[in-house]
């Protein structure tokens, strides 16, 4: 089935979509970027022109078919254009995580054998030059931001703008070759290669063809009725498949506008100014937005606080039903409308969600309370389930069928099979071609019929047909007494508290569950300020007795809620500790998309876990940390281990509480 899909008309590559857009929506805005405080914009016609010049500049530098072009930088039109320009030349764009340290980058650059690297700024150039000393394969480094670059040896270094101008000036020489190469692009040629950070092992290069990207974009756009008038904010890492699908695949398929923020720090302001109609964020973004709303409400006057509480209670009760078009009484409707005027509208405006028609969260499970908060405000936030290997979409929630505990129905064009162990398999037009230079992994992930193992365990719900994900198949385990251990479920409950940024729960094959907690410095710092608690560092605040006390209350709250579910009640947390440092991707404790790497944490903090189970009161530990520039240092601390009360199990709870 997957091999038979054919392109619509001649639209068999991203450059072909670009030409269609330039032809049909030539005067519509394709890209916006805030620079020098003003939104600069480019129409589709201008975009095509820019990309052509850039591509001809690449040809002038000697870019060959099949070359890999690494792109390292934040979301900027220039970087997206470089990707399309590389495709025009028959080369393969490989976007990388810009916050990766040089060592991580070196592996990827070597693995894909990149001859060209496009860098955002001096910081990235420095890393690449560093890597080049060992690698000797990179022939041209191009950069976008000139700042600080004047004194560099420019023998193999070029300003991206100069390359574009070179392409513009020499178009007579290169036009013919460019058109020839573009005509060679087919539905099966490689569109992009994305490295999956993976919670285990070395990153793998996922090769996605034009078919994968375009079919997926087409199907998902139809599913959500996306259109050329939509606006998105491109702020997620360019190396992440989600960004590629939203800001390239769907944007080029539908011809909608991609807005690039001024800098990472201004993202929230830019979000408010653009007010996208189609928005995508990992749960973390929604969590931190909610945390900042809660902090600001705590600082607000009593009238405002009362209004907020009153209307949020109403919204929680009737908001989701109104959004889903279910019957709601006229009085509640009226009150909700009043709330919209007084609270929800202004709040959505402040968050930048006034115009959102379709919002998605994925990458990780979102806390149900967080999810409900946004839904109750009338924001059509939905969940989807996907993977890099699937070009994102495997399952997603249709409008009006949104629930916190499922990931929705099977995406159009996708087939799902669940094997006897509960692991989910899928097959779709978006299914990746292969892992680059890694046939063994390709074979062990994708079978001859095209079925791909997700590594997640789940089941279809009776009745609704919605897919429910339990946990990573690897992570779900059994405790010593045989009861089910699903760490993610408990962690998500913990993370709902604004004070808790991250949690890691242990308990596989143990007698009881324990947890590591990371505090959220913004929320806890604000609390400390209001309560006159002095602290000098993250570490000191994390170890403060009052903070530990607060966290203990949160843990006990979670225990009570976990106890409600008879199947998972064994996952209550008996002991926990608050970590002296934030879990960090630079230390390998998380992936670049901020998923916890359980195995690495278990190894690295084995002493702490042992202490959680041997009954000691406190433990002294030293931890190695990696700074942003790759240097290493270490921090040590004495951590207190805290006992938390657990709640009696399941249905009997009502009686026990009396």
């Amino acid at each position: 089935m997957t091999a038979t899909t054919t392109p619509a008309g001649d639209l068999c590559s991203v450059p072909a979509l670009l030409r269609r857009n330039a032809r049909e929506f030539g005067t519509r805005t394709a890209y916006r970027e805030k620079e020098y405080g003003i939104w600069q914009s480019w129409t589709w016609a201008e975009t095509l022109q820019e990309i052509e010049w850039l591509a001809m500049g690449f040809l002038a530098l000697g870019m060959e078919r099949g070359d890999h072009v690494a792109i390292i930088g934040r979301n900027r039109p220039d970087h997206y254009w470089s990707m399309v320009a590389a495709q025009m030349c028959g080369a393969v764009p490989v976007p990388l995580y810009q916050d990766a340290v040089a060592e991580e980058m070196a592996y990827v650059l070597e693995h894909c054998g990149a001859r060209f690297v496009v860098c955002g700024d001096q910081e990235q150039v420095d890393k690449v030059i560093d890597i080049q000393e060992r690698l000797h394969q990179i022939e041209h480094v191009l950069y976008h931001d000139k700042r600080g670059m004047r004194k560099y040896d420019h023998e193999h270094l070029n300003w991206l703008r100069d390359i574009r101008d070179e392409g513009k000036a020499s178009h007579y020489r290169h036009e013919e070759e460019l058109h020839r190469r573009e005509a060679e692009l087919s539905y099966d040629s490689t569109c992009v290669m994305l490295y999956t950070s993976g919670t285990t092992g070395k990153p793998k290069g996922v090769v996605l063809s034009n078919r994968n990207i375009i079919e997926t974009s087409k199907n998902s756009s139809e599913f959500d009725h996306l259109r050329a008038e939509d606006e998105i904010l491109a702020y997620l890492p360019m190396a992440w498949v989600g960004d590629f699908i939203f800001a390239m695949g769907q944007a080029y398929w539908n011809g909608f506008c991609v807005n690039c923020p001024e800098s990472a720090d201004t993202m929230m302001t830019d979000l408010r100014e653009i007010a996208p109609t189609y928005f995508f964020a990992p749960p973390r973004v929604f969590e931190s937005q909610l945390t900042s709303v809660m902090i600001r409400m705590e600082d607000a006057g009593s009238v405002k606080r009362w209004l907020f509480r009153h209307y949020m209670a109403l919204a929680r009760r009737v908001g989701p039903a109104i959004l889903d078009g279910k019957p709601v009484g006229p009085i509640d409707r009226l009150r909700y409308a009043l709330g919209e005027f007084a609270v929800f509208g202004p709040l959505k405006n402040a968050l930048g969600f006034s115009r959102v028609r379709v919002g998605y969260t994925a990458g990780e499970a979102i806390g149900p309370e967080i999810f409900e908060f946004y839904r109750s405000l009338g924001i059509n936030l939905k969940q989807l389930y996907g993977q890099t290997e699937a070009s994102v979409f495997i399952a997603q929630q249709p409008d009006n069928e949104v629930r916190a505990d499922t990931v929705g129905v099977v995406s159009p064009g996708v087939e799902i099979r669940i094997d006897e162990t509960g692991e989910i398999f899928y097959r779709s037009p978006g299914t990746f071609v292969e892992y680059y230079k890694n046939p063994e992994s390709t074979a062990s992930t994708k079978d001859a019929e095209g079925w791909v193992a997700t590594g997640d365990a789940g089941f279809f719900e009776e009745g609704s047909g919605h897919l429910r994900i339990i946990d990573r198949a690897k992570d779900v385990g059994k405790m010593a007494d045989g009861s089910l251990f699903a760490p993610k479920y408990v962690e998500n409950k913990l993370k709902f508290f604004p004070d808790i940024l991250e949690a890691v729960v242990f308990g596989n094959a143990r007698d009881y569950c324990t947890a590591f907690i990371n505090i959220d410095l913004t929320a806890v710092g604000n609390w400390a300020e209001r309560n006159n608690i002095a602290y000098a560092s993250y570490q000191e605040l994390a170890g403060h007795p009052k903070v530990l006390e607060t966290i203990r209350f949160h843990v006990e709250d979670v225990n009570r809620s976990v106890a409600q579910d008879p199947m998972l009640s064994a996952c209550q947390i008996h002991r926990f500790l608050v970590l002296h440092k934030e879990l960090d991707a630079d230390d390998g404790e998380m992936t670049r998309t901020r998923k916890v790497r359980r195995r690495i944490i278990e190894e690295k903090y084995a002493d702490l876990i042992a202490a959680l189970y041997d009954g000691s009161e406190s433990i002294f530990t030293t931890t190695e940390v990696t700074y942003e520039d790759g240097r290493k240092g270490s921090i040590s601390a004495t951590l207190k281990l805290v006992d938390a009360a657990t709640a009696p199990v399941g249905k009997s709870q009502g009686m026990a509480a009396e």
Binding site: Y36, G37, R147, T266
Partner: protein
Amino acid sequence: MSVPAEPYVTADGRQIGDVLMEMRNITLRFGGVEAIKDISFDIREGEIRAIIGPNGAGKSSMLNVISGFYHPQEGEVWYKGAPRPSMKPYEVARMGVGRTFQNIALFEGMTVLDNVMTGRLTHMKASLWEQAIWWGKAEREEVFNREQVEKIIDFLEIQAIRKTPVGRLPYGLKKRVELARALAAEPSLLLLDEPMAGMNVEEKEDMSRFILDVNDEFGTTIALIEHDMGVVMDLSDRVVVMDYGKKIGDGTPDEVRSNQDVIDAYLGVPHE
């Protein structure tokens, strides 16, 4: 290793030119107190020149003499090859000398953007009347000045606080905003009075990078006072050392480091 007298290029490729400003036998008294005693030194185009010394050595007074705020009783200040007459501070500012202050002197109630815009005042020629009715030259000027200011905001990476009132900012950022305002005037000589006082290591590193970048990208000559020895020695091309109003050392960081008088002044030797 001392620096050559004629224009030269530094090891990291920066162009150091002729003498931009020269202090000739400056003596400054407040009543009976001699804050500065017969000091002479020069600042060359394109260089980063540091003035260091223990507390009360007269460093800030020296900076105030350069900026035209204090008028020395004896001696002359030469600027661009000619003696500078006694001037009001705003006249000095117009001549291309910008500065930041030891105790931040920003307009707390105004936004960062407005604060930095005030740095452009010396470049605004439209009359009060034109500005009031927002017409002709006033409008063109404002657009142009805003563009210049936005480039500086971009350069110093303070886009995220563009519209934030300065009073709400932490100390380290205020220092950066002050630098932005001084830069907005496009000075040929920039005076920084303890740009890193009270900062943590990370903020100091940021600020050092910005100072180097300003010097490198805009070719601005910089004279700075700073207490953090590590920072001074890393940043500066040449250092003047003052103690009790007198100059006790002058030269490259290496020369100054090995100067016995300087070591004594910092480690403390009994003064008579």
